[in-house]
Symmetry: C2
Subunit: 287 residues, 2 copies
Amino acid sequence: MTKQQLFEQITKKNSYLCVGLDTDIKKIPSHLLKEKDPIFEFNRQIIDATAEFAVAYKPNIAFYEALGAKGWESLQRTIEYIPQECFTIADAKRGDIGNTSGLYARTFFDKASSGLDFDSVTVAPYMGSDSVMPFLEFEGKWVILLALTSNAGGDDFQQLQVNSLQQPITSNQSPVTSLYEQVILTSQKWADSERMMYVVGATKADKLLKIREIAPEHFLLVPGVGAQGGSLEEVSKYGMNKQCGLLVNSSRAIIYASSGEDFAQVAAKEAQAVQQEMEKYLQMYLN
Amino acid sequence: MTKQQLFEQITKKNSYLCVGLDTDIKKIPSHLLKEKDPIFEFNRQIIDATAEFAVAYKPNIAFYEALGAKGWESLQRTIEYIPQECFTIADAKRGDIGNTSGLYARTFFDKASSGLDFDSVTVAPYMGSDSVMPFLEFEGKWVILLALTSNAGGDDFQQLQVNSLQQPITSNQSPVTSLYEQVILTSQKWADSERMMYVVGATKADKLLKIREIAPEHFLLVPGVGAQGGSLEEVSKYGMNKQCGLLVNSSRAIIYASSGEDFAQVAAKEAQAVQQEMEKYLQMYLN
């Protein structure tokens, strides 16, 4: 999916909601456990119920691989089931030396090899350029690079002050001072905003203005609204650009809104509420 | 496996060799493709041939998951087949927010969930403390944290100069100046050398002296000898401590030493040659 196609979906649905499929066998409603593939059955019903309110789905790969081979089968069924017009994100946070990252790219992008065909994958930046480039060799696929994550531990290293390796791109930008900003600047040499997005946690909304100085055109994948406590309004106010530029993820607050047999209807209601709030922010902040 | 047990294996086998199982369906000898599970069959023969010369095995998870559910089945068979006395490493480079890292820990450590039961897993440090701690909740299991990796892209961020967050542990240590050193120092608050190791690439052997100042007791997992060009002698000279403290990995140079029907015998020969070199260094540098 191209950036323009993604923006078209956003304007069509008046939503930049990404539903996170953190599907935990220990948390899904118990009546599903009698199904042949309870994980897929849960996902199928969640997708059916939320697809009109969401532009993207993000299976969190940990939840599938924790079940071994069986989990990968559920993941494959899920990715095949997600409607074509929705952007799909393998939230895998992979990254390794070049030849190994090439295999991870096959995993998520090469259906003939793994059975999976995602639009994008989240990648950790620590190992640098050659850990990221192999993902970009798959035409039309996206890398979503970790920049500033939503968890408390993110502060251990991401906000360390570093000596900048390069001048800011334009003179009105602030000098680079933090590791996550250096990640955003350096990685712009690897791909532009048509192929790369950044992860920026909703719990760090105060940093979005500065991030928009150094990455004005990029889409940002924003987790941390919902269970983790980030504010959708702040994220939208400080992060939105002229093509929206935001995919805001909600996982637990939507998919586990009810633990009963009505889980899918309640999830739809939650997703719709978020979509309606997003519609308002699109009118206010899209420029 | 405890640190003491690992050291006992090293002294028993006179080896600190880790064989990397980067088993690629596109590279294994063609006569194996008629087997029901060619990946496992290749691994089985490699393990049989090299177990007397190696103290550890390191399946590179990318190579298995690139094959989807089928690959995870091969991985499960492989990990079950590795002799009990060998240390096992899931080279997965995972790391995510706490609840998700908990699922990744289940993947590699909780046999009842995933079918896998590794001794250790490699973890990326970018997301900080709560991305690492869930792996340490599994008693007796190890985290092997990325510090200074062997690839060229490792230099993009790992060697950035950072403002140190803490004083060095003892006064005779050099001031902290690089991100990877900060990773080593900060992470020592999360676990000691009985539960944590660091990845230090063999191509960065010149940095080992400095690393030993800040992590004198830790085991280091050292990839990059062999296909990537690192020197085993330099790594041993600068990296060895009084319990050896090194697991040196070789993948391609051993498992793909021959592409013919004799691949296992040739792999054994290569592994033996490395073991004999290691035996010499253990006599020279173990102190």
